[in-house]
């Protein structure tokens, strides 16, 4: 097969990073990104982009750790380069605090982030309602900059991007040899995955440039993540809610909870409310599938369902998806040479 034509559907962090990995590992491939939304209108744009992993119950821990480590290493190198500000990648230090000591004192990712250690008594005094905490330094991917930087890298390698609403993966079978499904929450309708469900997250993006450290409650519900221009205050976790409309009650709840952790936020200005639907699943769907109709086959690689952990594992899952695309190409070449016999 001369130049396999690969369509990547979806242009959030998963779609764009997957397209980039495919272009990197398969230079002969002709890769195109198709999506109905691009930055700044993707779910990824709502997320803070903090590299703090979410644990998937259905995936072995060593695999999750490998994905996180690959992602962290990749972004660490960018953060250390002249491109850091354009790519929106920066280091940030802070604290994860717990009202009750967690059952797992050392999370699986503690040796991937930098300088992980328990908080001292003096540090905990700043959080009178919390009894235990962890201090560490990690990375943050600010969106839109990171997505726009990925788009720029893609264009530089010859990958085209098209605004297009794909209603059914099969509609691509005549134009493309392989389809990569990075549609996030869109996969619920696109491929009818009942195991995929939204976890609605509302956040506030505020102007509070004196906040230099992150603070996260270990329960995952309350967090303060300083980005380049804005601080993301969160959040909510509403299972099975599909509403993209901001909820004023949630806004007040988030603001109050964050001010309780960081009182100076009372002075925050220009509060913008955003909502995203985390594409949640027991495990990331990262697998091949072959669609066929009337003797025609369309290999598909699925890479969706990253829930709350998309940024933390995106490069790792993108590399795995690219590897699966390689397998699809090998299979197609195998069958095409068989067809020639």
């Amino acid at each position: 097969m001369a130049a396999p034509k690969v369509a990547v559907v979806g242009a959030g962090v998963i779609g764009l990073s997957t397209a980039l990995c495919i272009a990197e590992t398969c230079p002969s491939c002709s890769v195109m990104v198709l999506s109905d939304q691009f930055s700044p209108n993707t779910t990824s744009d709502v997320a803070a982009g903090m590299l703090i992993p979410h644990t998937y119950p259905g995936t072995p821990i060593h695999v999750q750790k490998q994905w996180f480590k690959e992602t962290f290493t990749y972004l660490f190198a960018i953060s250390n380069s002249a491109e850091a500000s354009e790519a929106g990648i920066h280091l940030v230090s802070g604290w994860q605090v717990f009202k009750n000591t967690p059952k797992e004192e050392l999370p699986f990712w503690s040796d991937v982030v930098l300088g992980f250690r328990p908080m001292s008594e003096a540090e905990l005094q700043k959080f009178p309602q919390h009894r235990f905490g962890q201090a560490f330094t990690t990375l943050k991917c600010d969106c839109p900059p990171y997505l726009l930087w990925l788009e720029k890298r893609l264009k530089a390698t010859g990958v085209q991007m098209y605004t297009r609403k794909v209603a059914d993966l099969w509609e691509l079978h005549s134009e493309y040899n392989i389809v990569v499904n990075c549609t996030g929450i869109g996969a619920h309708q696109l491929v009818g995955d009942e195991k995929l469900f939204p976890v609605r997250g509302q956040v506030l993006k505020v102007h509070a440039p004196w906040v230099k450290n992150f603070i996260r409650d270990g329960d995952g519900l309350t967090y303060i993540y300083p980005g380049i221009h804005r601080v993301t205050l969160g959040g909510t976790r509403e299972k099975e809610s599909w509403s993209l409309s901001p909820d004023p009650g949630a806004t007040k709840g988030i603001f109050d909870r964050c001010c309780s952790l960081e009182p100076s936020l009372r002075g925050a200005q220009d509060i913008k409310v955003k909502v995203g639907l985390r594409p949640s699943r027991q495990c990331v769907r990262l697998q091949r599938e072959v669609l066929s109709q009337g003797g025609v086959k369309l290999p598909v690689v699925h890479n969706y369902g990253h829930g709350a952990g998309g940024f933390s594992v995106h490069r790792g899952t993108a590399k795995e998806a690219a590897r699966l695309v390689g397998e699809c190409i090998a299979a197609l070449q195998g069958s095409s040479s068989r067809a020639k016999l």
């Binding site: 250390n80 380069s81 002249a82 491109e83 850091a84 500000s85 354009e86 929106g88 920066h90 280091l91 940030v92 230090s93 802070g94 930098l114 300088g115 250690r117 908080m119 001292s120 003096a122 540090e123 700043k126 201090a135 330094t137 600010d142 440039p209 004196w210 906040v211 230099k212 450290n213 300083p226 380049i228 221009h229 009182p263 100076s264 009372r266 002075g267």
Partner: protein, 347 residues
């Protein structure tokens, strides 16, 4: 009782406030006036980035270490208050970098979370093989000095824009106590060969992705002669110049080049940062802080002077401890004049 404070940098204004807070209720007749030739944003304090961090070694000067600690604890206590933002006060974490192992500093237990850097962290800083990480405080004087000024004005303290040429000038006006917070130009009021300018230059840039302070150290070149990057609430300060004995307040093109090249080598992404301002200032350097009483006589005029100057590059770091020490000296003056007993410690 009339008190003249000379100098309106961080030392002058905080000393004025500390004394007024402690003694005004005991001494309702207390009248305080501030005299200065420069006010915010034109003081030496305004040019400083505002990072709380003492020098690496206190040279055995435990008193200064204590004043540093008192300042840190005082500021930490204000962090959660509604005033913090207006004061320009916030927490910040960051790195101190060395080319060889060094002993832990006197302030390791004052700051939060002090620890050595891990090998992976050191990968971020090629050329540096050892370092510290800790969380400290920023106190931005372009906010703090106006905040102090407002507190003082609310208390009825009066301000005068005037260059005071001699102690006699203010004591002749009927001042009972003069607080000398004149910083690098204290020698103009009373010669002090120990006081020398420690000239610094900084470049202020827009680099909002930088969230940590990074201070490098070169034991050979001495303090602040090695690049540093300190992110503020609006601008990031790039520096690394310390010239002992240089009185020149003009920006130097050579120093600009030194700062820019060294800081961009440290943080390559800074090449994309937009330069907003350049500033030079004179740190009031002295082997130790001059914080003491003196009775100054001229003819039949006499005034009690409390000196509080010579804080070098750590004025913000030490200011409140010194203000309280100056207030204690003030209290002893009042006692001698049998005007009031010093305030009892609050239980």
């Amino acid at each position: 009782m009339r008190v003249a404070v000379i100098g309106a940098g961080v030392i002058g204004l905080s000393t004025a406030l500390c004394i007024h807070e402690q003694y005004h209720s005991l001494l309702p007749s207390l009248e305080m006036e501030v005299y200065a030739d420069r006010y915010t944003p034109h003081t030496t304090s305004d040019g400083a980035a505002g990072l709380w961090q003492p020098y690496l070694s206190d040279h055995g000067n435990l008193q200064e270490t204590l004043w540093n600690k008192e300042t840190f604890d005082y500021l930490l206590g204000h962090l959660g208050s509604p005033a913090a933002k207006e004061m320009g006060l916030f927490l910040i974490s960051g790195y101190n970098l060395f080319t060889q192992p060094v002993p832990d500093p006197s302030w390791k237990n004052i700051v939060l979370g002090f620890r050595n850097l891990t090998p992976k962290e050191l990968e971020l800083f090629p050329g540096y093989s050892y370092g510290w990480f800790n969380t400290a405080l920023m106190l931005e004087c372009r906010s703090y000095l106006p905040w102090l000024t407002n507190r003082l004005m609310q208390r009825g303290v009066k301000f005068f824009h005037k260059k005071v040429e001699s102690f006699q000038e203010v004591s002749g006006d009927g001042m009972d106590v003069v607080i000398n917070c004149t910083g690098v130009r204290a020698g103009e009021l009373q010669p002090d060969p120990e006081l020398q300018p420690g000239r610094g230059q900084v470049i202020k840039v827009l680099a909002p992705w930088v969230k940590h302070f990074i201070i490098t150290h070169d034991i050979e070149s001495g303090i602040y002669n090695s690049p540093y990057v300190i992110p503020g609430s609006e601008f990031t300060v790039l520096g690394g110049i310390y010239q002992h004995g240089n009185w020149n307040e003009e920006n130097s093109a050579q120093d600009h080049k030194t700062i820019w090249e060294n800081c961009c080598r440290l943080l390559p992404a800074l090449q994309k940062a937009k330069i907003v301002q350049e500033w030079s200032g004179l740190r009031p350097a002295r082997p130790w802080v001059r914080l003491e009483r003196e009775t100054v006589r001229h003819g039949h005029f006499q005034a009690e002077v409390i000196h509080n100057y010579g804080h070098g590059g750590f004025g913000i770091t030490i200011h409140w401890g010194c203000a309280m020490a100056a207030a204690r000296l003030f209290g002893s003056i009042l006692q001698e004049k049998k005007l009031a007993s010093p305030p009892q410690p609050r239980l």
